[in-house]
């Protein structure tokens, strides 16, 4: 079988495409196939995420009104400057996340499409977060109880919420 495009070389690439349930088959030689399909995947291409990160924090940033000061401020814990972070694509320590909280908002959104953690919370160090989440759960239960007119149960839950809220202070 010869290539459908150039009709010169033997067809070595057999392409099956399905558009809206319609099957289309094409038989091409390697040369024509590579021109046709717009091959995107090149493993030799070192187009890795860390290399891109510098630009994530990068120039388009100031456009969004980032105070120019931040570039020269340093993290009180590790001494990393925001401009260093931009350069290496890595933060210096856990405290950098606090020091550059505002500056990180946009890059994080750009990378993850989101900037708020929803996953696991550690028991140590995450106590307050866990308490707050538990309060949310109790408050929902409280509403349920009120709706069902189970006032004794509601009072019990209300007391638990109060106790937990006192832990947060």
């Amino acid at each position: 079988m010869y290539c459908e495009e150039c009709k010169k070389n033997p067809a070595t690439v057999h392409l099956t495409q399905v558009f809206n349930g319609q099957k289309m088959e094409s038989h091409l030689c390697e040369e024509c196939a590579s021109q046709k399909s717009g091959f995107m995947f090149d493993p030799a291409n070192k187009f890795s995420i860390p290399n891109l990160l510098g630009s994530m924090f990068g120039s388009n940033y100031s456009v969004q009104g980032m105070p120019a000061m931040a570039l020269h401020s340093t993290c009180p814990n590790c001494g990393m400057r925001f401009m260093d972070i931009k350069q290496v694509g890595k933060l210096g320590c856990s405290e950098c996340y606090k020091a550059y909280n505002q500056e990180l908002e946009a890059p994080l959104r750009r990378i993850h499409g989101n900037s708020q953690h929803l996953g696991k919370i550690p028991v140590r160090g995450g106590e307050k977060v866990l308490v707050r989440k538990q309060i949310e759960v109790f408050k929902n239960q409280l509403q349920e109880a009120v709706r069902a007119e189970e006032y004794e149960k509601a009072a019990e839950i209300r007391d638990m919420v109060k106790e937990m809220e006192s832990k947060l202070l």
Binding site: S37, M80, K90, L104, P107, L108
Partner: protein, 356 residues
């Protein structure tokens, strides 16, 4: 069994073949990135902080609040020769980046069967991983989670209510979780569907890499697919999503394998037969050539054209023919040519033995 056994044998848990979809999904992995509060990340570690970091992790391991840490071995990289570190990387227990240096701040923790491990001071202070055969992302997650809980009892993790687990690179922050599957996709490749599938995967927020992770080439039709986003989704959502996409790719690969068998029966059998012929007769063979031919033979075994060869032995071969494993086997340094000769010998020995 100890770390010495892991280093001396070419076996590791992910090579087992009882798990589901193992003909197409070679292995599943979930890793969590964790850091210690206020200690500078590995790329900024000085002597004092570096020692403190390793010491805290060592203490957490020695205290072993549960059975998982108690069953793990820990060894510092200054105690491991370069060859052994490379062996860990070839087995996917360490990364090429991690294995690169004998820094006293670097270390590895590993369990008997190599299904659980933790890299100390790679890009983050701790990178905990679970690596299992076949498609088992849920199981990987639950195991790595249990190990994380044991560590956490004695480690003060860097965590922020809004940003989650804090990591050295902002691409990992949040869950700190990367779930990945290693897939063998010869039919998708042969039928020219690969570009379409890879493009789609990219649009779905997943990343495709080669056999040895970031920056490595896709040799022998092996592809590693993993999540890109780590922040703003729960761990369960991340691995369930990857699982769903993986199942769809498996389905596609199956269909195309069937079609190849009907439409191109002779060409396919020829290709597989030739691959087996070269592997069992070659005297000098490079790593890349071997991996490419393993792919053909593997396909032949999967679809029943080649009998008497186990997928397990092919998994084992993939690791056994890597440079460090070859040198460990002969017990001496070898240049590229010597390795190519030794590689051919090892392949012939393993493939020949299973055929008879």
């Amino acid at each position: 069994m100890s770390i010495t056994d892991v280093l001396n044998s070419s076996y590791i848990k992910w090579m087992d073949t009882q798990a589901g979809d193992r003909d197409i999904v070679v292995s599943s992995r979930v890793r969590l990135a964790r850091n210690l509060n206020k200690i500078p990340f590995p790329h900024l570690l000085d002597q004092v902080n570096g020692e403190s970091c390793v010491q805290q992790i060592r203490d957490a391991w020695q205290k072993a609040p549960g059975p998982i840490l108690a069953a793990m071995d820990m060894i510092s990289f200054d105690q491991l020769p370069a060859l052994d570190r490379q062996i860990l990387a070839e087995k996917h227990l360490s990364s090429p980046l991690h294995a690169d240096s004998n820094s006293i701040f670097r270390a590895i923790l590993v369990n008997d069967e190599g299904s659980l491990s933790a890299m100390v001071n790679e890009e983050d202070h701790l990178r905990i991983q679970s690596l299992l055969p076949g498609l088992q992302l849920g199981e990987c997650y639950s195991r790595v989670q249990d190990l994380d809980d044991e560590f956490e009892q004695n480690l003060d993790y860097a965590f922020d209510e809004n940003r989650g687990y804090l990591t050295s690179c902002p691409t990992n922050v949040g869950t700190g979780m990367r779930a990945s599957v290693m897939m063998h996709l010869p039919a998708i490749q042969m039928t020219g569907q690969l570009n379409h599938i890879l493009q789609n995967i990219g649009q779905l927020g997943l990343v495709v890499r080669g056999l040895y992770g970031e920056g490595s080439e896709a040799v022998g039709n092996f592809f590693q697919i993993s999540n890109q986003i780590t922040l703003g989704q729960t761990e369960e959502d991340i691995y369930n999503y990857l699982q769903t996409i993986t199942e769809q790719i498996v389905e596609q690969e199956r269909l195309l394998r069937e079609r190849l068998q009907t439409d191109m029966k002779y060409q396919l059998e020829d290709k597989i037969g030739r691959a087996y012929g070269i592997l069992s007769n070659a005297r000098v063979i490079s790593s890349d050539e071997a991996l490419t031919l393993f792919s053909d033979v593997r396909l032949g075994v999967d679809i029943g054209i080649l009998k008497g060869i186990s997928i397990f032995s092919l998994n084992e071969l993939m690791v056994a023919v890597r440079p460090a494993h070859l040198q460990k086997r002969t017990g001496q340094d070898m240049d590229a040519i010597e390795r190519d000769i030794k590689r051919a010998e090892v392949i012939k020995e393993k493939l020949g033995a299973v055929r008879e």
